[in-house]
């Protein structure tokens, strides 16, 4: 069992149910996007007594569907700004819940969102937990990355 895996499942299921009225379930398979697949990745940083990042990676198609539900619009009416807002909001809520598990005091940053084929690049961090979920046949994942101890020199 990875660190906070049970809590990630509980929070994610609860947020997606309460905000989007969607049932999501943890799956054992890992979410590894196919080459060329567009992913929307949201993250919030936590700093203070514990330092790291909470990330939410999902296929762009699923992000559109989420946005459509959140803002009660058809997919044709969605702008990229709205899609980023929706994923940012979901990431912020997930991060806020996970923050409550960490040693105090710690602070949650504003959400960042990126469209990528490779996931987020967060140098100086290591992945400690990743949980994959399934919703409408799409996979998405929630991850915790912890800041690594600084390394003095490259050479």
């Amino acid at each position: 069992m990875q660190l906070y895996e049970t809590e990630i499942c509980e929070y994610t299921e609860s947020i997606w149910k309460n905000i989007l009225d969607l049932e999501v379930k943890k799956i054992e398979e890992n979410y590894c996007p196919a080459e060329g697949e567009s992913i929307l990745a949201g993250c919030v940083h936590i700093s203070g007594e514990w330092e790291g990042t909470i990330a939410l990676d999902c296929p762009a198609e699923l992000a559109k569907k989420i946005t459509s539900i959140m803002f009660k619009l058809t997919e044709d009416e969605l702008s990229s700004d709205l899609i980023q807002d929706a994923l940012g909001e979901l990431t912020n809520m997930t991060g806020g819940n996970i923050k409550s598990l960490l040693p105090e005091p710690c602070y949650l940053s504003l959400p960042a969102v990126t469209m990528t084929e490779y996931g987020l690049k967060i140098p100086g961090s290591e992945l400690i937990t990743t949980v994959t979920f399934k919703c409408w046949g799409y996979k998405f994942k929630v991850s915790i990355l912890k800041k690594k101890e600084p390394v003095a020199s490259k050479n």
């Binding site: 980023q84 959400p111 100086g124």
Partner: protein
């Protein structure tokens, strides 16, 4: 004059000078950068002041920065080296700017977007944008603050 514009220019010049021995100069205007040729590094400040600092560098300057920082021969920098170099640079600039905003505040780990990727901060708005130049290569340092809710 934009918020902390002079201080941001000084911090940026100082970090490039002390970390890399590169003399960069503020330049007027707003350079149009293409996401296909730009690497963006960011750090967030959280606390009494909330916002994000963004450094947007053209690929050619990322190579120069990485080779200088890690004493590598031209063309020998790997993608990981480049990520580490831009992460280190934005972390140092961010640390300096953090000292200028109201306390208490904390600095996040760096977040990067490589060439062809976009990095968006939905709940923020542009506060300060500074353009710089190094040997004909243009790059920018921006400060985005938390947007007021409508």
């Amino acid at each position: 004059m934009q918020f902390l514009e002079k201080e941001i220019q000084q911090c940026t010049q100082l970090v490039f000078s002390t970390l890399l021995s590169l003399e960069v100069h503020p330049s007027p205007g707003q350079h149009e950068s293409s996401s296909t040729d730009t690497v963006t590094g960011s750090v967030q400040i959280t606390g009494k002041w909330n916002g994000v600092i963004l450094l947007a560098l053209p690929s050619s300057l990322v190579n120069t920065v990485t080779e200088t920082l890690f004493s590598l021969e031209p063309g020998k920098a790997s993608t990981d080296d480049k990520k580490d170099a831009v992460g280190e640079l934005i972390n140092m600039i961010g640390g300096n700017i953090k000292a200028l905003v109201p306390e208490p505040s904390t600095l996040s780990v760096p977040l990067l977007a490589l060439e062809g990727q976009s990095l968006q901060f939905p709940a923020t708005e542009m506060v300060t944008h500074c353009q710089f130049e190094y040997k004909g290569k243009s790059f920018s340092l921006s400060l985005r603050g938390q947007a007021e809710k409508p």
